[in-house]
Symmetry: C2
Subunit: 452 residues, 2 copies
């Protein structure tokens, strides 16, 4: 169990219109994550992830891994340094050169700090190939830091220069097989985003710098977003909007709404765009050497953290999807020296924390506010700002027989009215919630209506 | 459960004296990891970690995290890109400049790809500071890729240019407090290395380029090691050896032996070496602003993987510490069409795998050799090369009533003679082993005798 006073969380008060280390504060997530001590900029577009935000990333990564492995993906790790010559072969060194961070080693050999790894994966498949058609389909993924030399990094973690990303790569013997993997990964994305309970829509997208034949963006609705969607308020159809005026929904003829959104994921069928120039071939049934049909998939992990804050937080306080909150439960004990403290003091509060962790199954997800020289009210106010999904207060009713606890749940603004529960009821309630395996919901329930 | 045929494991036959992508094969781990399809070089000193090796790293990371968090450390993430000006301030840009990978962004600002983060952490603590003495001690860690522009990368993962490392940093109000954290982390290292069952010795070391007052190296005995230790065969005292002749043990007067070793970890008390130039101060009891006393700790994660292969493998086959083997158990079923296959066919083999995973608690740690057109002998030979700690063969005795299974355990060379067990006995045996929480052994049992 963790004690609040021991967590490294350097809070900060940011004056209005402040500029922090050459970075203007331009959005809610940037301001709140900095003020609440979750993130710290180290320079333009570069951030230290502090322990509370690191816990969010741990949970996000675990969910992403579970979903993508259920889709059959195998984890690997590619070096961040990719030989520049590979990007020359595909033409991307010229096309996106200005956005690449470049490194030259002591012998003058040129590398890039990869923003994505299509070239590296195609080169790997060429190196170990030709694979037999029997070894296909193959789906490989990694989670690693990616780099982009943004001309003007802004919005904090939403557009940084070093960021954590899931990237997955499919290799196939036919376009049909590539499409099947694409559908499988699409379902994995849906499960993930449903678990996160975030308003994320899949929209058809042009393939752009990646090349290929089929592509979707996964867009989270949020005011701070730099993208715009047309969203049907009736049937929830969504599409990218390149224009400023709204249109009529092609499905239900309702007037569509223009909404801002943040791209948190992308999926592509790539065809032979990379396998051909890099000679990543497979041996077909007739033994003919043929370029692999590739697909690729990305989810911005650090961006998703910030985007979820944009979507859920209010102007003054963080809010989290329950599955990735830094801690799910905060316990606030009585103020030292109070009447309640005499009956239900520090030992009882600790005992409650241990029971929640070990008996209710909230292992390592409970934090105790041990600043018990402060009033309960003052600690509640600070807790509101952090947005713990559940707060348990040991207040006046802990002096009753049997003692009862106040259970609060986070709302968009503030917390629900408290529910008074005995210790047994509290444990049973939270145990039930801890045991709900949220990933295993029906993926068809989310994004049911969307543009293909 | 995983099927062997679905694992991406591009095996390779390396001719003697081969040069792979400009890299000479110079040691056992490099050769075996490449031949067995666990690792693939992408260039000089750069490697793709393939799925089986990635599983080893996942397990290693989980063990490292458990041990360092038990010592009170909190996880964070620093950017790999560190502003070069911080390294200028401490003088290290000049001192170790040639080994640094350098990056210049589109605005001409200079960064390094960090090999270690003392400067970045001191800058962070200065930025959020001055911390109050009440917030100390503080112990922060990360696991991330580090970079070193080696003049001649060699020995595969033992000396690569991009590698995964745990690095932890302590901040303290006094040298005594720094020493206490140092002891706590030392115990965490001991627990970790005991869990891995590797012959690792702690030896006093000069502080070198890091500065500071106290330092130890953690050295694993292995022929391929570039370091040399004096090791007492009697009392197991160990010390660094800068000379070629062996000495007398200062403890028990035995003749010490010269042995090769690989540095897998390092621990330092740094004092104010970084906090002073970077102004990382704390507010003491009398409110005086004072440079923090720092300490730092490193474990090479990818290096430890390769080093454990150097220590345990034989010339032709991998061997693993049980805690980090890619899979703990391989199941080999009968050959298709055999008499055994008729009685104990594919469904029974799968059922056994599922019972081992779900009932014996070996969840996701069992792999099935589904190449059942091959003989059992041929599959045993391939399995020997991979070094699974346990192999279960469904052979002739599965036709008995009740059916019995052959349990083999890996030895340094080959496997133990089989033990014949009924299904219930097999499940009970492996369940007991799966439940042993190896991390919670007495740390004093390891490295009992060592230099200071």
């Amino acid at each position: 169990m963790r004690y609040l006073s021991q967590i490294f969380q350097p809070v900060l008060t940011i004056p209005k219109d402040a500029i922090i280390k050459n970075t203007e504060i331009t959005c809610k997530s940037q301001k709140l994550l900095l003020e609440c001590g979750l993130v710290r900029p180290t320079g333009s577009g570069l951030f230290t992830i502090l322990p509370l935000a690191r816990r969010v990333l741990n949970k996000l990564e675990a969910l992403v891994i579970r979903c993508i492995e259920e889709a059959g993906a195998q984890r690997m790790s590619l070096p961040s340094l990719t030989a520049a010559r590979l990007w020359e072969k595909t033409g991307r060194l010229q096309d996106v050169g200005a956005e690449l961070m470049k490194v030259e080693d002591r012998h003058g050999k040129k590398y890039i700090l990869s923003p994505t790894h299509e070239e590296a994966v195609a080169d790997l498949l060429a190196d170990v190939g030709p694979l037999s058609y029997k070894q296909l389909p193959l789906l490989l993924y990694q989670i690693s830091n990616k780099y982009r030399d943004e001309p003007r990094p802004k919005h904090g973690l939403l557009r940084s220069r070093e960021f954590s990303m899931l990237d997955a790569y499919g290799a196939h013997a036919s376009p049909e097989c590539a499409k099947e993997t694409y559908e499988r990964v699409t379902n994995a994305y849906r499960k993930l985003f449903q678990t996160l309970e975030l308003p994320i829509y899949r929209v058809a997208a042009p393939s752009g710098a990646m090349g290929g034949s089929l592509s979707h963006e996964w867009q989270l609705l949020a005011d701070a977003g730099e993208d715009t969607l047309q969203l049907c308020p009736e049937c929830k159809s969504a599409m990218r909007s390149e224009q400023d005026s709204s249109r009529q929904c092609v499905r239900c003829a309702s007037e569509m709404q223009l909404v801002n959104s943040i791209e948190v994921g992308h999926t592509f069928v790539l065809g032979a765009r990379y396998s051909e120039p890099l000679r990543a071939h497979y041996a077909a049934v007739d033994a003919a050497s043929t370029p692999l049909h590739m697909s690729c998939y990305g989810i911005g992990i650090t961006r998703l953290l910030a985007a979820s804050v944009e979507a859920l937080a209010n102007d003054k306080a963080l809010r989290w999807p329950e599955a990735i909150a830094p801690y799910r439960v905060l316990i606030i004990g009585p103020k030292e020296g109070s009447k309640e403290w005499a009956v239900h003091g520090w030992e009882e509060v600790q005992g409650l924390g241990e029971e929640l962790e070990n008996e209710a199954g909230l292992y390592s997800d409970v934090v105790l506010d041990d600043r018990h020289t402060h009033t309960i009210g003052r600690r509640m106010k600070a807790a509101d700002r952090m947005g713990y999904p559940i707060i348990v207060v040991c207040g006046r009713s802990t002096t009753e027989q049997p003692p009862r606890y106040e259970l609060y749940r986070s709302k968009r603004v503030g917390y629900s009215a408290p529910v008074l529960l005995t210790r047994a009821e509290l444990l049973a309630t939270l145990a039930t919630e801890a045991n709900v395996t949220k990933v295993e919901v029906n993926p068809k329930e989310i994004c049911a209506a969307e543009s293909s």
